[in-house]
Symmetry: C2
Subunit: 325 residues, 2 copies
């Protein structure tokens, strides 16, 4: 764990099992990291219950940002209540009260709230979701895992740049190897998108000494032998990540190096944002909070953004038919 | 194992490690199944080596169909040599000398040779590749795993019918539950293809008492809790199957119920055809041969074809931009 205070805003109402799971995860996070400060965003009674469970020293590192509950608010759909807390968490980051935010609420709503409240990076229409899987010889960075379900080749090339920068900045990977996920490793394997993206990734200048190693396959996402960064569309990345999680559950548990992550970093908004899976367990929420603190301490968002924009940007004509969902 | 003789043509030259791995796999298969007869298709010296390793009773169940090696044939690329053996294996099935064929050669070449030599089912442009994963409460049928990388909604609806029939006929699944793979389970989740396919799958009449259960996620492919048949495009199915295989390797081995299969049934050609992964090990080849024998004994190809054509076929206007790779 790097030194340095990290102030993380936590959306207490995001997630299928909120607030119980979020409160439990926040407790674990605050106990595990003595330099972590939490800003609890949500109903005062929920936050109070969490604070009561802490000892006085830990309690000093927890602040509450109550979100006012309008009359009859409890009758509102929980999604609407949760969206008001994620917006309040975004505001806390925008106003400099928190350094980063974590939510296990609906990913689309969190990304939209963050894009509106914090702004987007120049040239980025839809932020990317980046997941890190522990593999045999180090982490595998998988992107996108759900930000853009139908990217064009230029977006995949930008994701290669983002992934290279993220691997170097966040995980200290030297000269990251970038692979494009397809159904075989020989050039020409894949659908139209992959055949168009392969030369685009080969041509795009990559930061941090990264190099493009060509097509990789499904095995390589879990094993990591051939690439440090695996680039794919958000549809495939999302189902792949969940399939690996399902396989670990079938196999009786994740490997010792760790399972499939249930938290992803949002790249493309001007701030540090981590989304947790809606079905996150307390450990997943704690991991998401730890990831947000790690990203903040590394200056990851700022550095990745700078590395992205230091690279000539593709004019992206082939993204014109991109669908945002 | 069902009773009944099954005569399986085995392509000795298909696969990255052919012929050694294929010979080893064929040996295991013939020893494991006393009603299995093999027709070894390939160079006579390779087949002879295999036969020498068998005892006399086993040897009586093995026949050789030598594929003539032209002068200088050893200088040809191995792919060209392997294609001549898979074509000879297809001819053996067409001529009634074998009941089914198995190849670990290039899948595209095998499917093409089978489609040309045996003919395709009415209305099927590209055969589907069907894989069976052992899950918590029974098998999960995943299709397509690489036959059609960019299907339209009508093809996915046809795959739902195929998968329902295959689950019932081949695996004895009563009233199969059919799911469409997407990034979430709520209606509307997914890319354009999934949003168009969801109503198409809900509308298509399904055989064998099957019912469409809507969208499922990546977890469900490995765990099988929500669906017996998971329908997806061939790109996603292929990378997903390999990701699950990689996850089992990371987790120290597959679960007791079995790992990700390295053999797939080809549905859509007028004959029983099984393709093994090019990187198949001897056990994978033996499993592929056992699958081919099982399909033949169940009359799977004939019955699935009849169930498919007993169902009104979609005119498939939205498949007009389908890409075959």
């Amino acid at each position: 764990m790097e030194p340095g205070t990290a102030r993380i805003a936590v959306d207490l109402l995001g997630g299928d099992e909120a607030p119980a799971v979020v409160v439990d995860g926040a407790l674990r996070a605050v106990r595990a990291d003595p330099d972590l400060h939490l800003l609890l965003v949500g109903p005062a009674e929920v936050a109070g219950g969490l604070i009561d469970a802490l000892d006085p020293a830990q309690r000093a590192r927890v602040t509450v940002r109550p979100v006012r509950t309008a009359v009859g608010m409890t009758d509102h759909p929980s999604a609407a209540r949760a969206e008001s807390t994620v917006r309040a968490a975004v505001s806390a980051v925008r106003d400099g009260i928190a350094d980063a935010l974590v939510s296990a609420g609906a990913t689309g709503a969190t990304v939209t709230a963050a894009a509106l409240g914090l702004g987007r990076w120049t040239g980025v229409r839809r932020p990317a979701l980046v997941a890190t899987l522990p593999a045999v010889a180090g982490p595998v960075i998988l992107l996108d895992v759900g930000g853009t379900l139908e990217p064009g080749p230029a977006t995949l090339a930008r994701h290669a740049v983002l992934g290279a920068a993220y691997a170097a900045v966040t995980h200290g990977v030297a000269e990251p190897r970038i692979g494009l996920l397809s159904v075989g490793t020989e050039a020409g394997k894949g659908d139209r998108l992959r055949r168009a993206a392969d030369p685009a990734l080969a041509a795009v200048p990559l930061p941090c000494g990264a190099r493009y190693v060509g097509l990789v396959e499904g095995y390589d996402v879990a094993l990591g032998a051939r690439a440090d960064v695996v680039v794919t569309d958000g549809f495939t990345g999302n189902v792949l990540l969940k399939a690996i999680e399902g396989a670990y559950a079938m196999a009786g548990g994740p490997p010792a190096s760790g399972g499939a992550p249930r938290a992803a970093a949002v790249l493309g908004v001007a701030g540090t944002v981590v989304v947790c899976h809606g079905a996150a367990r307390p450990d997943d929420v704690a991991s998401g909070i730890a990831l947000a603190a790690h990203l903040w301490r590394r200056g990851a968002t700022y550095l990745v953004s700078a590395l992205l924009h230091g690279t000539p940007q593709d004019p992206a004509p082939s993204d014109s038919n991109e669908v945002t969902t």
